[in-house]
């Protein structure tokens, strides 16, 4: 589904990524973990098209997308959320989520200016789709008309997930979906992520620091440390790996 091959990325002298290779298997949840500064977010930015890698290839459904711009990758079905919520703060929840439907809509400028006719039909269909598939699903119907700024952090995270879901993505990339959340909120978010996988069959790539959650919901885990891929495998394999334990806890004295 999403395949990374020998990805290298550097900023000046800093080697952010050095030869990362893994595959996010269709319909599965793949986790990317590693200590702070390991290159997880750089990896995400390279996959979504904000950074151009020095070397290596990103394949999406077998197609090389390394040279495509972020918006082209989105059109192919690659969605993501950000570590520090990147919602549109001037808009309501509903408008934010509607923006997720952007690539699926066809309305052109002429139709938009007139509204009545094609644009209206499409807007109403989008509204229905979003209400039924996203807002009900994420249980955010009580806040749909709220401006983003009025929402607490946990709900903002959920709205951002909703916006990504509105894209009907094939691959969903979540950058620290439960960062800064308490246990209950984390459990809620984990449940939503599992529901997405189960109901929509979406391939999910996840960066997270919450080890409990990662070990619980991921079927495959990639571990990064200082830009290098030090391990990859099932949760059980990874948690028993010497290098991983050393990276997280330091070498045994």
């Amino acid at each position: 589904m999403l395949k990374i091959e020998d990805l290298h990325l550097s900023f000046g002298g800093i080697k952010a990524l050095q030869g990362i290779s893994f595959e996010a298997r269709p319909g599965e949840i793949t986790g990317v973990i590693g200590p702070n500064g390991a290159g997880k977010t750089s990896l995400f930015n390279a996959i979504s098209g904000f950074y151009t890698p020095d070397r290596g290839t990103v394949y999406f459904e077998g197609r090389d997308i390394t040279g495509l711009s972020p918006d082209k990758r989105a059109e192919l079905g690659l969605a993501r959320t950000f570590q520090n919520i990147a919602l549109f703060r001037g808009m309501t929840v509903l408008d934010n989520i509607k923006l997720g439907g952007h690539t699926r809509l066809k309305t052109n400028v002429w139709q938009a200016l007139r509204y009545f006719g094609a644009a209206r039909r499409e807007e109403l269909e989008l509204r229905r789709d979003i209400e039924e598939r996203v807002i009900d699903f994420l249980e955010i119907d009580h806040i749909r008309k709220y401006p983003i700024t009025m929402l607490p952090y946990g709900l903002q995270k959920r709205v951002e997930l909703g916006r990504a879901l509105a894209m009907q993505p094939k691959v969903l990339m979540l950058d620290e979906p439960v960062a800064g959340m308490n246990r209950e909120e984390t459990a809620d978010m984990a449940r939503f992520i599992l529901d997405v996988q189960e109901q929509f069959g979406t391939t999910i790539l996840l960066v997270e620091h919450d080890m409990h959650m990662v070990m619980d919901i991921c079927s495959h885990i990639v571990v990064l440390n200082f830009g290098q891929q030090i391990a990859s495998g099932t949760p059980a394999e990874v948690s028993g790996n010497e290098d991983v334990i050393e990276a997280y806890l330091g070498a045994a004295a």
């Binding site: 972020p70 989105a74 993501r80 990147a86 923006l99 690539t103 938009a112 200016l113 509204r127």
Partner: protein, 356 residues
Amino acid sequence: MINGNLKASYAADERVLNNSYKQLFVYGMMAVLACFATFANDYMILIACKMGILLIAVVGVNILTGYTGLISLGHAAFVAIGAYGVTILDNVLMGVVPEGLMFFVIVPLAVAITAIIGIFVGLPSLRVKGLYLAVATLAANFIVIFLIEQDLFAPWTGGMVGVNTPSPNLLGWVLDTNREMFILIAIIAFASLLAAQNLIRTRVGRAFIAIRDRDYSAEILGISLLRYKLTSFALSAAFCGLAGAMFAYFYARILPEQFELDLSLELVAALIVGGMGRTMGPVFGVILIVMMPEVIKVVFAYFTGGDASAARYTAPLQEIAFGLLLVFFLLKEPLGINQITDRILRAANRWPFARG
């Protein structure tokens, strides 16, 4: 208090005038305008026409600055291109296009030309933002005025001394009085507002707002910054071109100096005062910006007892008031008059149960 806010369908919930206060306001305003066209005196009609023309242009600036978040200090150039476009096209196509159809041919043509030039002026926006973009667009304003004033183009533009403009002929109906022009301008201004409102409730307008609020997030949703920034420039220029066309039709003669930086600043000021990124913002802003000098003139004349020697102080007073007004809004109500009306509307909705 408002009742009946329950919506039973998505269509009802997606309506713009989604409560009875808004409906009352808009339909009421239309009735007022219709009465106005019939009963107002000539001077009031003149002021209202000025407002209408300015409104169409500010709607354009709102699309670019209010919704897309790109600042322009060169929009007077687009008004100029629209005005000169209509005038020149009218002269060139005289005899080729039947007189009754001229309006319907040259106005869309002039607007289209303005939109295309708008795309070129917008090209720097792909690289620079904020203040730098403002300066880049400012340059466009100077270049356009400079070109209009050149002797080379004087046979068409009239150069520094300006050029006489045509009167619109709508299928044989020649609009040669201000009252007739008012009807035309009011209809076009209303249509412009409606078009802008429609734009922002569909994917194109949402994409603009997304770019304003967070451009990288917009990209990740599949919005091409290149395409939508230039679309925004084109649309914004098109509305200003339309305003320019009305400007040319309304006045008997146009001069390059009418489209200088002053006008660009007035457009931005009206938008800030009225409320950026809101549909009704331009309306409130334009009413205030156009009415204020008139009110000052009347009040000043009243206190000086119509003394002619004191009248020379009117113009500087108007400019001082203009500056103070801008500073006041930037400090006290940065979201403009629209924010005040929103508060009133909210209070009316809740009355008599809660305030605020």
